[in-house]
Amino acid sequence: MKGAAEARPAKAVPNGIVGMWLFLSSEIMFFAALIGGYIVLRLGAGPGGWPNPEAVLDTPLLAFNTFVLISSSFTMALALAAAKEGDGPRARRFLLLTAALGCVFLGIKAYDYHHLWHAGTTIRSGLFGNYYYTLTGFHGLHVAAGVAALAALVPRADGTEGAAVEVEAAGLYWHFVDIVWIVLFVILCLV
Protein backbone atom coordinates (compact mmCIF):
# COMPACT_ATOMS: atom_id res chain seq x y z
CA MET A 1 0.00 0.00 0.00
CA LYS A 2 1.36 3.38 -1.03
CA GLY A 3 1.61 6.24 1.48
CA ALA A 4 -0.36 9.45 1.10
CA ALA A 5 2.84 11.39 0.33
CA GLU A 6 3.48 9.25 -2.76
CA ALA A 7 -0.04 9.54 -4.12
CA ARG A 8 0.16 13.20 -5.16
CA PRO A 9 2.97 14.36 -7.47
CA ALA A 10 4.60 17.65 -6.53
CA LYS A 11 4.11 20.63 -8.87
CA ALA A 12 7.30 22.43 -9.72
CA VAL A 13 6.57 26.11 -9.07
CA PRO A 14 9.93 27.88 -8.79
CA ASN A 15 10.58 29.65 -5.50
CA GLY A 16 11.23 32.91 -7.33
CA ILE A 17 7.74 32.88 -8.84
CA VAL A 18 6.04 32.11 -5.52
CA GLY A 19 8.14 34.82 -3.85
CA MET A 20 7.17 37.34 -6.52
CA TRP A 21 3.46 36.53 -6.11
CA LEU A 22 3.77 36.97 -2.33
CA PHE A 23 5.47 40.33 -2.89
CA LEU A 24 2.74 41.35 -5.35
CA SER A 25 0.11 40.38 -2.74
CA SER A 26 1.54 43.00 -0.41
CA GLU A 27 1.69 45.48 -3.28
CA ILE A 28 -1.99 44.92 -4.05
CA MET A 29 -2.83 45.85 -0.45
CA PHE A 30 -0.55 48.90 -0.65
CA PHE A 31 -2.29 50.29 -3.72
CA ALA A 32 -5.73 49.23 -2.42
CA ALA A 33 -5.18 51.49 0.59
CA LEU A 34 -4.14 54.45 -1.59
CA ILE A 35 -6.92 53.94 -4.14
CA GLY A 36 -9.50 53.31 -1.39
CA GLY A 37 -8.57 56.59 0.27
CA TYR A 38 -8.86 58.39 -3.06
CA ILE A 39 -12.31 56.93 -3.78
CA VAL A 40 -13.62 57.96 -0.35
CA LEU A 41 -12.37 61.54 -0.77
CA ARG A 42 -13.50 61.73 -4.41
CA LEU A 43 -17.06 60.56 -3.72
CA GLY A 44 -17.25 62.44 -0.43
CA ALA A 45 -16.41 65.73 -2.18
CA GLY A 46 -19.87 65.84 -3.75
CA PRO A 47 -20.97 67.69 -6.89
CA GLY A 48 -18.67 70.59 -7.71
CA GLY A 49 -16.25 69.67 -4.96
CA TRP A 50 -13.75 68.06 -7.29
CA PRO A 51 -12.12 69.48 -10.42
CA ASN A 52 -13.11 68.04 -13.78
CA PRO A 53 -10.12 65.86 -14.80
CA GLU A 54 -10.61 66.80 -18.46
CA ALA A 55 -10.16 70.47 -17.60
CA VAL A 56 -7.03 69.92 -15.51
CA LEU A 57 -5.23 67.00 -17.13
CA ASP A 58 -3.96 66.43 -20.65
CA THR A 59 -6.16 63.37 -21.26
CA PRO A 60 -4.93 62.54 -24.82
CA LEU A 61 -1.31 62.64 -23.63
CA LEU A 62 -2.08 60.39 -20.66
CA ALA A 63 -4.03 58.04 -22.94
CA PHE A 64 -0.95 57.84 -25.15
CA ASN A 65 1.11 57.09 -22.03
CA THR A 66 -1.32 54.28 -21.21
CA PHE A 67 -0.73 52.92 -24.69
CA VAL A 68 3.04 53.10 -24.08
CA LEU A 69 2.76 51.06 -20.88
CA ILE A 70 0.43 48.52 -22.50
CA SER A 71 2.95 48.21 -25.33
CA SER A 72 5.68 47.57 -22.75
CA SER A 73 3.60 44.73 -21.27
CA PHE A 74 3.31 43.32 -24.79
CA THR A 75 7.08 43.41 -25.34
CA MET A 76 7.60 41.89 -21.88
CA ALA A 77 5.32 39.00 -22.85
CA LEU A 78 7.36 38.56 -26.05
CA ALA A 79 10.58 38.59 -23.99
CA LEU A 80 9.25 35.78 -21.83
CA ALA A 81 8.07 33.80 -24.87
CA ALA A 82 11.60 34.09 -26.31
CA ALA A 83 13.20 33.15 -22.98
CA LYS A 84 10.97 30.06 -22.73
CA GLU A 85 12.10 29.03 -26.22
CA GLY A 86 15.73 29.39 -25.11
CA ASP A 87 16.35 32.31 -27.48
CA GLY A 88 18.57 34.50 -25.28
CA PRO A 89 19.41 37.26 -27.83
CA ARG A 90 15.74 37.81 -28.74
CA ALA A 91 14.75 37.83 -25.06
CA ARG A 92 17.43 40.46 -24.37
CA ARG A 93 16.20 42.65 -27.24
CA PHE A 94 12.62 42.58 -25.96
CA LEU A 95 13.77 43.23 -22.37
CA LEU A 96 15.68 46.29 -23.59
CA LEU A 97 12.66 47.47 -25.58
CA THR A 98 10.46 47.03 -22.49
CA ALA A 99 12.88 49.07 -20.36
CA ALA A 100 13.01 51.75 -23.08
CA LEU A 101 9.20 51.98 -23.16
CA GLY A 102 9.27 52.28 -19.36
CA CYS A 103 11.65 55.23 -19.75
CA VAL A 104 9.31 56.82 -22.33
CA PHE A 105 6.44 56.43 -19.85
CA LEU A 106 8.47 58.14 -17.11
CA GLY A 107 9.52 60.92 -19.49
CA ILE A 108 5.91 61.66 -20.45
CA LYS A 109 4.98 61.57 -16.76
CA ALA A 110 7.70 64.12 -16.00
CA TYR A 111 6.34 66.36 -18.79
CA ASP A 112 2.83 65.92 -17.37
CA TYR A 113 4.04 66.95 -13.89
CA HIS A 114 5.82 69.99 -15.34
CA HIS A 115 2.70 71.04 -17.27
CA LEU A 116 0.40 70.50 -14.26
CA TRP A 117 2.68 72.25 -11.79
CA HIS A 118 2.96 75.37 -13.95
CA ALA A 119 -0.80 75.36 -14.46
CA GLY A 120 -1.23 75.71 -10.70
CA THR A 121 -2.02 72.13 -9.68
CA THR A 122 0.64 71.32 -7.11
CA ILE A 123 0.81 68.75 -4.34
CA ARG A 124 -0.32 71.46 -1.91
CA SER A 125 -3.05 73.03 -4.03
CA GLY A 126 -5.84 70.74 -2.83
CA LEU A 127 -6.97 67.15 -2.43
CA PHE A 128 -6.93 66.45 -6.17
CA GLY A 129 -3.34 67.59 -6.59
CA ASN A 130 -2.28 65.86 -3.41
CA TYR A 131 -3.76 62.53 -4.43
CA TYR A 132 -2.78 62.84 -8.09
CA TYR A 133 0.90 63.31 -7.29
CA THR A 134 0.85 60.72 -4.49
CA LEU A 135 -0.79 57.95 -6.53
CA THR A 136 1.02 58.59 -9.79
CA GLY A 137 4.28 59.30 -7.90
CA PHE A 138 4.24 55.95 -6.12
CA HIS A 139 3.32 54.27 -9.40
CA GLY A 140 6.16 56.08 -11.16
CA LEU A 141 8.60 54.88 -8.51
CA HIS A 142 7.44 51.33 -9.20
CA VAL A 143 7.99 51.84 -12.93
CA ALA A 144 11.48 53.24 -12.26
CA ALA A 145 12.29 50.22 -10.05
CA GLY A 146 11.01 47.95 -12.83
CA VAL A 147 13.21 49.66 -15.43
CA ALA A 148 16.24 49.20 -13.14
CA ALA A 149 15.36 45.52 -12.62
CA LEU A 150 14.96 44.95 -16.38
CA ALA A 151 18.28 46.68 -17.08
CA ALA A 152 19.96 44.40 -14.53
CA LEU A 153 18.27 41.36 -16.07
CA VAL A 154 19.33 41.99 -19.68
CA PRO A 155 22.88 40.55 -19.40
CA ARG A 156 21.54 37.55 -17.44
CA ALA A 157 18.95 36.48 -20.06
CA ASP A 158 21.10 33.80 -21.69
CA GLY A 159 18.38 31.41 -22.83
CA THR A 160 18.73 28.97 -19.94
CA GLU A 161 15.79 27.70 -17.89
CA GLY A 162 17.01 29.61 -14.83
CA ALA A 163 17.09 32.83 -16.84
CA ALA A 164 13.55 32.17 -18.06
CA VAL A 165 12.35 31.98 -14.44
CA GLU A 166 14.01 35.34 -13.72
CA VAL A 167 12.40 36.89 -16.81
CA GLU A 168 9.03 35.46 -15.74
CA ALA A 169 9.36 36.91 -12.21
CA ALA A 170 10.34 40.33 -13.60
CA GLY A 171 7.44 40.08 -16.04
CA LEU A 172 4.95 39.44 -13.24
CA TYR A 173 6.10 42.63 -11.54
CA TRP A 174 5.99 44.63 -14.77
CA HIS A 175 2.49 43.46 -15.68
CA PHE A 176 1.30 44.26 -12.15
CA VAL A 177 2.59 47.82 -12.55
CA ASP A 178 0.68 47.96 -15.86
CA ILE A 179 -2.56 46.84 -14.16
CA VAL A 180 -2.16 49.51 -11.47
CA TRP A 181 -1.83 52.18 -14.19
CA ILE A 182 -4.87 50.83 -16.04
CA VAL A 183 -6.90 51.45 -12.87
CA LEU A 184 -5.25 54.80 -12.06
CA PHE A 185 -5.77 56.12 -15.59
CA VAL A 186 -9.52 55.55 -15.35
CA ILE A 187 -10.13 56.79 -11.80
CA LEU A 188 -7.78 59.79 -11.98
CA CYS A 189 -7.97 60.94 -15.59
CA LEU A 190 -11.35 59.88 -17.00
CA VAL A 191 -13.94 59.61 -14.21
Binding site: K11, A12, V13, P14, I17, V18, W21, L22, L24, S25, S26, I28, M29, F31, A32, A33, I35, G36, G37, I39, V40, L43, G44, E54, T59, P60, A63, T66, F67, I70, S71, S73, F74, M76, A77, L78, L80, A81, K84, A164, V165, E168, G171, L172, H175, F176, D178, I179, I182, V183, F185, V186, L190, V191
Partner: protein
Amino acid sequence: MTASRHTTARDACVVFAWLAALTALEVAAVYVVPSRLLLVAFLLATAAAKASLVALYFMHLRWADGFLRFLAAFPFVLGVAFVAALVPDIVLPWR
Protein backbone atom coordinates in the same frame (compact mmCIF):
# COMPACT_ATOMS: atom_id res chain seq x y z
CA MET B 1 7.39 26.20 -14.52
CA THR B 2 4.34 27.80 -13.03
CA ALA B 3 1.86 26.40 -15.46
CA SER B 4 1.58 23.76 -18.14
CA ARG B 5 1.07 26.41 -20.81
CA HIS B 6 2.30 29.93 -21.31
CA THR B 7 1.30 32.87 -23.47
CA THR B 8 2.69 32.50 -26.96
CA ALA B 9 3.75 35.41 -29.15
CA ARG B 10 0.50 35.03 -31.10
CA ASP B 11 -1.59 35.14 -27.87
CA ALA B 12 0.33 38.26 -26.81
CA CYS B 13 -0.47 39.99 -30.13
CA VAL B 14 -4.19 39.28 -29.76
CA VAL B 15 -4.26 40.48 -26.13
CA PHE B 16 -2.29 43.61 -27.06
CA ALA B 17 -4.80 44.42 -29.82
CA TRP B 18 -7.68 44.09 -27.34
CA LEU B 19 -5.92 46.27 -24.76
CA ALA B 20 -5.21 49.00 -27.32
CA ALA B 21 -8.78 48.88 -28.66
CA LEU B 22 -10.28 49.08 -25.16
CA THR B 23 -8.05 52.06 -24.28
CA ALA B 24 -9.17 53.87 -27.45
CA LEU B 25 -12.81 53.11 -26.56
CA GLU B 26 -12.30 54.52 -23.04
CA VAL B 27 -10.97 57.82 -24.33
CA ALA B 28 -13.67 58.05 -27.02
CA ALA B 29 -16.39 57.34 -24.44
CA VAL B 30 -15.37 60.40 -22.39
CA TYR B 31 -16.29 62.62 -25.34
CA VAL B 32 -19.29 60.63 -26.59
CA VAL B 33 -21.30 59.15 -23.69
CA PRO B 34 -23.66 61.85 -22.35
CA SER B 35 -24.75 60.14 -19.11
CA ARG B 36 -22.24 60.45 -16.26
CA LEU B 37 -23.48 57.28 -14.56
CA LEU B 38 -23.31 55.29 -17.79
CA LEU B 39 -19.83 56.65 -18.50
CA VAL B 40 -18.49 55.66 -15.08
CA ALA B 41 -20.00 52.17 -15.39
CA PHE B 42 -18.52 51.76 -18.88
CA LEU B 43 -15.07 52.97 -17.85
CA LEU B 44 -14.96 50.72 -14.80
CA ALA B 45 -16.07 47.75 -16.92
CA THR B 46 -13.40 48.37 -19.56
CA ALA B 47 -10.71 48.87 -16.88
CA ALA B 48 -11.74 45.58 -15.27
CA ALA B 49 -11.65 43.86 -18.67
CA LYS B 50 -8.16 45.22 -19.42
CA ALA B 51 -6.81 44.30 -15.98
CA SER B 52 -8.29 40.79 -16.36
CA LEU B 53 -6.69 40.34 -19.79
CA VAL B 54 -3.27 41.30 -18.41
CA ALA B 55 -3.64 39.10 -15.33
CA LEU B 56 -5.01 36.07 -17.20
CA TYR B 57 -2.75 36.07 -20.25
CA PHE B 58 0.37 38.15 -19.53
CA MET B 59 0.63 36.97 -15.90
CA HIS B 60 -0.49 33.46 -16.91
CA LEU B 61 -3.20 33.12 -14.28
CA ARG B 62 -5.40 31.45 -16.91
CA TRP B 63 -3.09 28.43 -16.77
CA ALA B 64 -1.75 28.74 -13.23
CA ASP B 65 -2.50 26.20 -10.54
CA GLY B 66 -4.88 26.85 -7.64
CA PHE B 67 -2.17 27.98 -5.24
CA LEU B 68 -0.95 30.84 -7.44
CA ARG B 69 -4.52 31.84 -8.26
CA PHE B 70 -5.22 31.97 -4.53
CA LEU B 71 -2.12 34.11 -3.94
CA ALA B 72 -3.37 36.57 -6.55
CA ALA B 73 -7.08 36.52 -5.66
CA PHE B 74 -6.91 36.70 -1.87
CA PRO B 75 -5.32 40.16 -1.53
CA PHE B 76 -7.50 41.40 -4.39
CA VAL B 77 -10.65 40.34 -2.51
CA LEU B 78 -9.25 41.92 0.67
CA GLY B 79 -8.55 45.13 -1.23
CA VAL B 80 -12.10 45.29 -2.63
CA ALA B 81 -13.49 44.51 0.87
CA PHE B 82 -11.34 47.30 2.25
CA VAL B 83 -12.79 49.82 -0.19
CA ALA B 84 -16.32 48.48 0.43
CA ALA B 85 -15.80 48.90 4.17
CA LEU B 86 -15.14 52.58 3.56
CA VAL B 87 -18.43 53.09 1.72
CA PRO B 88 -20.39 54.00 4.91
CA ASP B 89 -18.01 56.94 5.32
CA ILE B 90 -19.19 58.15 1.93
CA VAL B 91 -22.94 57.54 1.99
CA LEU B 92 -23.93 57.99 5.65
CA PRO B 93 -24.45 61.55 6.92
CA TRP B 94 -22.48 61.24 10.16
CA ARG B 95 -19.47 63.15 8.92
